[in-house]
């Protein structure tokens, strides 16, 4: 819970609340637009039931701007995901672990292999252990040791982030090369297949000609 007392913690809390408020507002706009639609359609049905024709001014009209906003708000609300999920910050864990995890995800998406990622994961787990040790050092005389441990964790995370960035570049280049080679291989296979087809047809025709000349004409 120390995290909530910091500036980043307060900003995070404010952004969380804004996020929820925006979603609620979006859903409200969407709901009011639906009500307006229902109202307009109700009027239209009433007119159709009671008269043979409608004046232009009596046709159901929806305020187009509001409708667009409502549709956008509804789409945003759907895209954001379920509301019921609750978040909870962990006081001791630095958000840097999260940032490092994002870098690691980027490396994986770029095509880093599990053995390449394993090294970085081992380093991250070591950093987690050290962070846990630092948290346990609460006594006033252990401040220096705690600071040293924190510095060590910070350095390890920086190392992981740098290596993850390098890995992302290397893995994306490798993935791109592999992809190009696979597609080029596909084209080469198509060319070879065509050549094989031509050869087989030519051979078959030659064989047929040969067989024709080898035929014996017999009197019946």
């Amino acid at each position: 819970m120390q995290f909530l007392n910091t500036r980043a913690g307060i900003l995070f809390e404010v952004s969380q609340r804004l996020f929820v408020q925006t979603r609620v507002l979006g859903l409200r706009i969407a709901y009011s637009s639906v009500l307006q639609w229902r109202h307009a359609l109700g009027r239209y049905r009433y007119m159709v039931c009671n008269r043979d024709y409608l004046n232009e001014s009596e046709l159901p009209r929806i305020q187009s701007k509001l409708a667009i906003i409502a549709v956008l708000a509804l789409l945003a609300a759907i895209a954001i995901g379920p509301l019921a999920v609750r978040s909870q910050t962990v006081g001791t864990l630095e958000p840097r672990f999260g940032q490092t995890l994002v870098k690691l995800h980027q490396s994986e998406t770029a095509g880093a292999t599990s053995s390449e990622v394993a090294e970085l994961v081992a380093l991250l787990n070591k950093a987690l252990e050290l962070d846990g040790e630092a948290v346990k050092l609460n006594a006033p005389d252990q401040t220096q040791k705690r600071a040293d441990l924190r510095a060590q964790v910070d350095q390890m995370l920086t190392t992981v982030e740098n290596r993850a960035a390098e890995l992302t570049v290397v893995a994306s280049q490798r993935s791109y090369t592999n992809k190009v080679l696979t597609y080029v291989g596909g084209a080469i296979a198509a060319v070879l297949g065509t050549i094989a087809y031509v050869s087989i047809v030519a051979f078959y025709q030659k064989y047929r000609v040969k067989r024709t000349f080898q035929m014996r004409v017999t009197r019946k």
Partner: protein, 210 residues
């Protein structure tokens, strides 16, 4: 003068294009990762690494300072590295368990947590050796005051049970959500939020007298 007739040329072009399309489709399938179900597994095993022998001498009544050993495990099948946390909570019969439908954690107090980065398809297992280091009987209830978990002592607040029966240890799986920059109970996959939790019941009928 061409050595190949125009009809043969057309046939060749059709065959080449057909083969090209087939080969490129194969290349696309080979280079595109297949979608798969994303999930975590959470388990608790007994002292012999099996789903049995959770209690010493198969007696659910745990005595003071009696060591109990379990193994907690998590398997990551999310397709990427994940930061997970197993939160250990202690409760009694009346406290609410986690809600699977609403994805809400149990309101029971958190005793400790175990955190770890896990790779895709990796199983992380950690021993969970615990004992009740202090419990007191007052009136009709038994209060657990301190728990020792993996050689560390944890103070417990407001955990009591009538006659010392039906205590439980709850294990909840929390995962780090990179977009929210926070731990969340459970995980989100395919637009759905899922949770994983376990609980093991025990009794504590031999506390010290207050």
């Amino acid at each position: 003068m061409s050595f190949i007739s125009s009809q043969d040329r057309r046939t060749l072009i059709v065959i080449f294009i057909t083969l090209l399309i087939v080969c490129q489709m194969v290349a696309y399938v080979a280079t595109t990762p297949r979608p798969r179900e994303q999930f975590f597994q959470l388990y608790v095993l007994g002292a012999k690494h099996m789903a049995a022998d959770y209690y010493p001498n198969n007696d659910t009544d745990i005595r003071l300072r009696e060591p109990v050993t379990w193994y907690l495990g998590v398997t990551d099948n999310m397709g990427s590295v994940q930061l997970v946390s197993i939160r250990v909570k202690i409760g009694n019969q009346t406290i609410k368990p986690p809600d699977d439908q609403e994805a809400l954690e149990s309101p029971a107090p958190v005793v400790t947590q175990f955190m770890r980065f896990i790779q895709d398809n990796e199983t992380w297992e950690t021993p969970f050796a615990w004992s009740i280091s202090d419990a007191v009987s007052s009136g009709n209830g038994t209060h657990i005051l301190t728990l020792q978990i993996n050689n560390e002592t944890y103070q417990i607040q407001d955990c009591s049970a009538s006659s010392g029966r039906n205590f439980r240890i709850i294990f909840e799986l929390w995962t780090w959500q990179t977009d929210a920059n926070a731990f969340e109970f459970g995980w989100t996959a395919g637009g759905e939020h899922r949770v994983a939790w376990l609980q093991v019941w025990f009794n504590m009928t031999s506390p010290r007298l207050a």
